[in-house]
């Protein structure tokens, strides 16, 4: 090859290098966009809370007249009710009802042994996503209806 031929190859080589760099960048941006995980834990905890507080087969208070949607019957808050009303293979949860001042009135969960062990250290466990959500709610304590909070803590297998 003569000097000009070498220069041509070098030139093409440089161009190819930059084309490859830009192409790889485009691929990475597209790959990230296409393979983003859909994490719906937020939504699932929202739906779980509604199911718990609206359905009389869950925690909703029911008297002789009607089902009081949005009012939790404390007497119903236990492991059996929770397991029968909402169970999902990938998700475990803890339900805690507190009064308006923040004092805990009652708590129950449907966690299996693994979920119970992982919940306190959730941040460090790969493949699990934990969220705690607090909502203003009414509760029935056997005598009257009062305003308080329901805190639902969820451990969700995402990975």
């Amino acid at each position: 090859m003569n000097k000009k031929g070498i220069f041509d190859i070098l030139e093409i080589g440089i161009y190819m290098f930059f084309v490859i760099v830009v192409s790889v960048f485009i691929f990475l941006a597209a790959f990230k966009y296409l393979n983003e995980k859909i994490d719906t834990t937020n939504l699932e905890i929202s739906l779980l809370t509604k199911r718990l507080t609206y359905s009389d087969s869950c925690l909703a208070y029911k008297d002789s007249a009607r089902v009081h949607q949005g009012t939790i019957d404390l007497a119903k808050l236990n492991f059996n009710t929770l397991t029968n009303c909402f169970s999902k293979e990938s998700l475990g949860y803890v339900v805690t009802v507190t009064d308006i001042a923040g004092n805990v009135l009652k708590s129950a969960s449907n966690l299996n042994a693994r979920q119970e062990a992982y919940l306190p250290i959730c941040k460090n466990v790969k493949g699990y996503h934990c969220i705690k959500k607090k909502n203003l709610v009414q509760y029935y304590d056997g005598n009257e209806t009062k305003t308080g909070f329901v805190t639902v803590e969820v451990i969700n297998l995402v990975g």
Partner: protein
Amino acid sequence: MLDKKGDFGFPFYFFPAVTLLVLTLVFFGIIFFVVEIGKSPNLVIRSESYQDSSKLITVLNSHTKVQQSGVNLTISELISLASEDQNYKDELTSEIKFLLDKLPRIQVGETLADVIIATPASTRETIKEGHWILEIKTNNESFLNIGETQTLANNYLEQLIFIPLSDGNLAEVKLYLNCFACKAEDIDFIA
């Protein structure tokens, strides 16, 4: 523009061109991978889509300290009473303020934008936290507005209910979150 003798202009255009390319890649790299501006809009089915008026219903059904015939009135009953007797307006305002303070708030954290603009923590909290606002209208006129709105802020998670008053009319009660710099994910968390 290479010829037999080599390209004398090469150093003059090569290095600026490569610098420009690198800067462009770094800029778009920050946009796509750090700030994530290219995030798919269909990625998350938002909690907001499944929202209902439960927060407002809970507020309206809450019992107050105001009693009538030995029974504690609810917020909705107190609204009806206050619409007839303006003396109850102050008590209604304080009861509602107490409950609005108990509604879920957005958790304030530091973002890249805060680092770039160097926003002080106290200012960040005021801007980002958002405020719950409750508006009551009777006969299409404003009766009571509780909560602070911020300039240039947007309204989220709006809930609307009509409640009957003792004079047979309806009061329009609206609850919403007013927030200036809230992210969609944060709004979704408290929906």
